[in-house]
Symmetry: C2
């Protein structure tokens, strides 16, 4: 199905591409959202209560929108993309519930994390429930290839989270380690989201491959931008969550590069703040100044731009359509956030 | 494939039926075990380390043996039962890892629980990894019906665990509540194990249904027996883990019935011990004496026997074979444990 993206609606700058994506997928997203609420239901009251608390907090729902958009690049009367999109969002939410337990996070989507309201125990179990429901929806479509993509993604994401856990605060973490974490924690689900979208539309093998690559590279760009934003972005806008990755000891690209380039006293300063939950605003600002001296936020941004470019290039062989052009703009937007 | 169970090997009493099941499934279980080890592998070292710690601690591997035996009731040259059996065991192990986090358990299979060695975080994530791998193996078989059974089971198990969590220490818990917990936490995976076994052998619809019902009823009998054993069995053999359910506030049948039947001062005694992690051996012995006065362990055993009988009856319409007869003996054995 072609989405309603008249060319007049296309963005001049890429900065509102996300709003355009929301508008373009709105009709189908209403079906996805209804399905999400229905499948988060259970006779065990605590299950929908907790699930809906997280789901209704919103979030961008970027992943299911990507599934719908990837499907909409092609002429097709398939309806499977609705269930695929809901399954992708369930997998994402299951991951968030478990991540918050693993990271001992207090906040999620601007509200106290579910684990702070209902406890770690219920968060683990409701995450498991959502994962089971995601597979149920996939099975109902009968699309074995898409099931393979999502079950593989589920294992890979968990594996990557274990790797990130093992690497937390590891001062010898390399850019190669970082790449593994980014692929597993973000790029894999973006990749799965666009792949199953293309599969729902019965796209050809090379078209599925193009959208798989687009999703993977977009996920890369998105996570790099997120990791830059966690330090206030390249322009250094400190917000209330700035420095969370630092306090959690997460070895993201800006910090890995800085540890390589920093002078001994700068390195000592980074090390003292890294993984220190007490690191305050001033400490974070100090670390950001070190990053700026060595250009590590800018280097991470350049890397994000490369991935966004690769995402756009992947779209090259696809049928020319408003949706394809919108996906290209989304790639630019994902990086533009980090300025 | 018919299993190697010569009639001469069949048990006179049902007490060694489990050993016979082990012997009968040995050749195929070696393949299952090899697959389990291979699929628990990962380039992220912590993953196989933790997974193998749990897997190699053993456990009875009753569930995968049931899958193999259910398949072996029929003449078939299918090999899918190997992957199904490994997937069932992975789902079981994923559940155990998450359960231990949820229950804050210290021990599992006679060793410190994985969460005590590697922490709750890694236990949650490796559980997720095993679940993803379980689905991968299922997808590889291309058997959508079996995938439906297992994904439905995954959601139902998690839902049931949430229900049990919500009911922990709830003095108004009913036998109906207990039934829900038993079905979700145990009977559902037994049911799934035998169902997918029959599916692997391309059994007919009514044969699959017979083995589904067998698994469900067997799971019931098994869990009831476990819950009786947690209080030392009907004969009251106190062991080192006796009373764990009491200390965790688990509303199992013996305690639910006792709360209904007990005199006010007995009721007060049960209430003071229930959910109290400090409850000692003497407290547990006192509670067991209350159970004995009101016959609640014996009542639970009678219920277990009914379910074992229902499991055996379900086998009635299946082809007469040594494996079918062995499955009947396994049902008796599951209850006999609780004497």
């Amino acid at each position: 199905m072609e989405l309603a993206v008249p060319n007049a609606m296309r963005s001049n700058t890429s900065t509102d591409a996300l709003e355009l994506l929301v508008a373009a997928t709105q009709v189908e997203m209403e079906k996805v959202n209804a399905l999400i609420l229905a499948r988060a239901d259970s006779h065990v009251e605590l299950v929908p209560e907790l699930a809906r608390y997280l789901i209704e907090a919103g979030g961008k729902r970027l992943r299911p929108m990507l599934t719908l958009a990837a499907s909409a690049v092609f002429e097709s009367d398939s309806v499977h993309q609705i269930k695929f999109a809901a399954a992708v969002e369930f997998m994402h939410n299951a991951t968030l519930l478990h991540d918050d337990v693993v990271d001992e996070s207090d906040m999620r989507r601007g509200k106290p994390a579910a684990r702070k309201v209902w406890g770690n125990q219920a968060s683990v179990l409701v995450g498991d429930f959502l994962l089971g429901q995601a597979f149920m929806m996939m099975v109902e479509t009968g699309e074995l290839r898409a099931l393979e993509v999502l079950s593989h993604a589920a294992a890979k994401i968990a594996e990557g989270e274990v790797f990130q856990l093992a690497k937390a605060g590891d001062l010898d973490a390399t850019t190669h380690d970082y790449a593994q974490v980014v692929v597993a924690k973000t790029a894999t689900l973006f990749e799965a989201a666009t792949t199953v979208g293309a599969m729902a539309a019965n796209a050809h093998g090379d078209q599925i491959e193009a959208l798989r690559l687009y999703g993977l590279e977009l996920g890369w760009a998105f996570q790099l931008a997120d990791d830059i934003l966690d330090y206030g972005g390249v322009s250094g806008n400190m917000g209330k969550n700035t420095g969370d990755d630092l306090r959690e000891g997460k070895m993201t690209l800006p910090v890995i590069l800085a540890l390589e380039l920093a002078a001994p006293e700068e390195r000592a300063m980074i090390i003292s703040a890294l993984g220190n939950p007490e690191a305050g605003e001033d400490d974070v600002a100090e670390i950001v100044r070190i990053f700026e001296r060595h250009g590590t936020l800018a280097a991470a941004l350049a890397e994000a731009e490369q991935h966004a470019q690769a995402a756009k290039s992947a779209l090259g062989g696809l049928p020319d359509s408003a949706t394809r052009n919108l996906l290209a703009d989304v790639a630019d937007f994902c990086v533009a956030r980090a300025y």
